[in-house]
């Protein structure tokens, strides 16, 4: 495979300006991420210490193999909800390595609101369990939750993808022969009691862990019975009387060494085999991505320059290099794994859509996972393109993409607008993981276009009522819409709402993709099959 020849001049003023802009954005990102992970009010840390419990990060350290990577999802979930008071949505999720195996981890963060489940907490847990199901990853639950956050119960409990889905997914995992362990390091009350009880293995930590459908106050209110936490649902009672608990752990350290021992005796399932090559670092420095991503989101850039800083040896075998040139397609390796890459170099036209559909079929046929790099403002509009059947060709691309059986991975590298987001495997299209870069934007259209469209509608409505608007009045309609929209399309809004699996520092993209691909190979790849292509 040939190396991409970079055209980037690292001394050019544009490069330096971009580099400075991206560095500033990343400084903000890393600061916010560090705060969400580690910064808590003193009283919350004091409470954990008083309860004799370890923090969630210390628990992960006891569980995971030392020196191995942990692919953490949605570190900034809920960063724009609940007045920013629920960092990470009060739960840590991700893929880590335990006894040399890839496992999915769901760990309540009791330093945030006692680990209560907010609507976005539930969304983050359900997403993690979906990841486990799709990739056939064993799950380790670290339970320590105050239960559903009652003032927002309507967003936690009733709907299809809310609370019940956590337990439903646990059942589906078990049914699919994917093992689960729950380590109970706090209270599992009401619905929360089903997390350990639906797990194949559960471990209760003496003194701090407890499982019950109704806690002591609720029991007293309901029946008048007065009973203590330990008698009602403590480790001793459950492991020796009720059989609800499997293992009693004397300490947190004991609990996590038991969990590791359980993992080590699981049957090791063979992984799916795809093409691989010896791993090679990119020839070009990934840090140069900072200078390549334009500081102005509207400025076009060559996605090959991005690929050259992500893939092994910066080597890329480009497919149809002279056809449909606004979409770059080709093969490369990431940490040795062979992948088919689709990357936007402009708007999607008829030819680029057909090229995409064709290339994806090719990758499905030879079982090559697909990686999408999005910088897409949409499919081309206008009479000429409608006559050529742009909607029909876009449908072919969607049919091939949505019908793909190989694992797909998406990086929203810059713009992700409109149907382009769909064609390029946006959130609704089952990418195994989907990450965003901090300056990226996602929405039906750009902020300016949306503000103008909405202002136009309003102006015409007023004109029909016989009112003429001054420029100031038009601006007064437009400006608030623009401000709101600008915020809504930002990566921080997306990541807060868990429309993605997290914001990435661009230099970490290569590793995040490699871990995602490696995890995906725990699941088999089906034979290719599709719906009907509108030819």
């Amino acid at each position: 495979m040939r190396r991409i020849e970079s055209q980037i001049d690292t001394n050019a003023p544009d490069y330096k300006a971009n580099f400075a802009a991206m560095s500033a954005r990343l400084k903000e990102f890393h600061t916010r991420q560090h705060a969400a992970r580690f910064e808590r009010p003193q009283r919350d840390n004091d409470r954990l210490a008083r309860q004799n419990k370890l923090g969630v990060r210390e628990r992960l350290k006891l569980l995971l193999d030392p020196g191995t990577p942990f692919l953490e999802f949605s570190t900034l979930a809920a960063c724009r909800e609940y007045d920013g008071a629920v960092p990470g949505a009060a739960v840590v999720t991700g893929i880590g390595i335990v006894q040399g195996r890839e496992v999915a981890i769901h760990a309540n963060d009791a330093s945030v609101k006692g680990g209560a489940w907010y609507p976005l907490t539930v969304k983050k847990i359900v997403r993690l369990l979906d990841v486990a199901l799709e990739n056939r990853l064993p799950v380790i639950h670290i339970c320590d939750s105050a239960g559903g956050f009652l003032p927002l119960q309507h967003g936690v409990f009733p709907d299809r993808y809310l609370g019940g889905r956590v337990f439903r997914n646990q059942v589906k995992l078990s049914q699919a022969n994917i093992p689960q362990i729950a380590v109970v390091g706090g209270h599992c009350t009401a619905g929360g009691a089903y997390v350990p009880t639906l797990s194949d293995y559960n471990i209760i930590i003496e003194g701090t862990g407890a499982i019950f459908l109704g806690g002591p106050p609720l029991v007293k209110a309901a029946t008048g019975e007065v009973v203590g936490v330990q008698e009602l649902g403590g480790a001793v009672m459950h492991t020796s009387v009720s059989g609800t608990g499997d293992y009693r752990a004397a300490t947190e350290q004991h609990a996590f060494s038991l969990a590791r021992e359980i993992v080590s005796q699981w049957k090791r399932m063979p992984k799916t085999i795809i093409e691989t090559a010896p791993c090679e670092e990119p020839y070009y420095d990934p840090k140069e991505l900072y200078g390549i991503i334009p500081k102005d989101r509207k400025t076009q850039f060559d996605m090959r320059e991005v690929l050259a800083r992500i893939v092994d040896g910066s080597r890329f075998h480009e497919y149809q290099p002279d056809y449909g040139t606004t979409l770059v397609c080709g093969f490369a390796h990431i940490w040795g794994y062979k992948v088919g890459i689709l990357a936007n170099n402009g708007v999607l036209f008829n030819d680029s859509s057909l090229k995409a559909a064709h290339f994806m079929q090719l990758c499905n046929q030879n079982r090559t996972p697909l990686v999408f790099f999005q910088n897409i403002t949409g499919y081309m509009v206008g009479r000429e393109y409608e006559e050529r059947g742009i909607a029909k060709d876009g449908a072919k691309m969607l049919m091939a993409q949505g019908g793909s059986v190989v694992p797909k991975f998406t990086v929203i590298a810059n713009a992700s607008y409109g149907a382009g987001n769909y064609g390029m495997c946006g959130r609704a299209w089952d990418a195994r993981t989907l990450f965003m870069w901090p300056q990226a934007e996602i929405g039906v259209m750009g902020a300016d276009q949306a503000a103008n469209t909405l202002a136009d509608v309003k102006i015409r409505q007023l004109q029909r009522e016989g009112k003429e608007l001054t420029d100031e009045e038009v601006a007064a309609i437009r400006e608030p819409v623009l401000e709101r929209y600008k915020r809504d399309v930002e990566a921080y809004t997306s990541t807060s709402e868990i429309w993605d699996d997290g914001i990435l520092d661009p230099v970490n993209t290569r590793n995040a993709l490699a871990m995602s691909i490696s995890a995906a190979l725990n699941a088999p790849i089906d034979d290719p099959h599709y719906g009907i292509f509108r030819l």
Binding site: R2, K298, T299, Q300, G313, F349, T377, M380, Y417
Partner: protein
């Protein structure tokens, strides 16, 4: 894929194969049985070919392998055949910059008569929420810039024209 190597400035094509009992090197001059056995010293090998036996030391880099033999070092460069055989970069480049899609001119950086270098930005266009910089395809002189900032243009309209190259 046959391999192309560069040794001392000269290119040679060859391909290592196994004929069932031994390794053979297919060269333009014919088939050459050969054998390479590692010794205990790092990078050390014994090379047997054409009835000769030689001690060699090898160091492989990303672009070339260095072979030390008989007190001399040879650099054996690897040439990518697909790249090497692609010929020139498509012959003379086009003198015209044609609109890749309909849009609006955002800014124009040059005027007719200006001398420009390959890769130098000529104008910036906007279409579908994207700003694209169009650069000179080669060194030359600007002959024509038909649109000014703010003008709309259609698909395949000529946005810039360089003066023909004189031989």
């Amino acid at each position: 894929m046959r391999r192309i190597f560069q040794i001392g400035g000269e290119e040679t094509e060859c391909w290592l194969a196994h004929d069932g009992s031994r390794f053979v090197l297919n060269t333009p001059e014919g088939v050459l049985p050969c054998r390479l056995d590692p010794t205990t010293s790092p990078g050390g090998f014994v090379l047997r070919a054409r009835g000769l036996v030689r001690d060699v030391r090898l160091a492989a880099g990303p672009e070339a392998t260095f072979v030390h033999m008989d007190g001399r070092t040879y650099e054996v460069g690897r040439v990518d055949p697909a790249e090497r055989l692609a010929g020139s970069d498509g012959g003379a480049s086009d003198d015209r910059l044609v609109a890749p899609m309909p849009g609006v001119v955002v800014s124009v950086a040059v005027k007719p008569g200006d001398i420009v270098a390959a890769g130098q930005p000529l104008l910036v266009i906007e279409s579908m929420k994207l700003e694209t910089t169009l650069a000179a395809p080669r060194d030359g002189v600007v002959a024509e810039i038909p649109f000014a900032a703010g003008d709309s243009f259609g698909l395949k309209d000529v946005l810039a024209q360089l003066a023909p190259e004189e031989d």
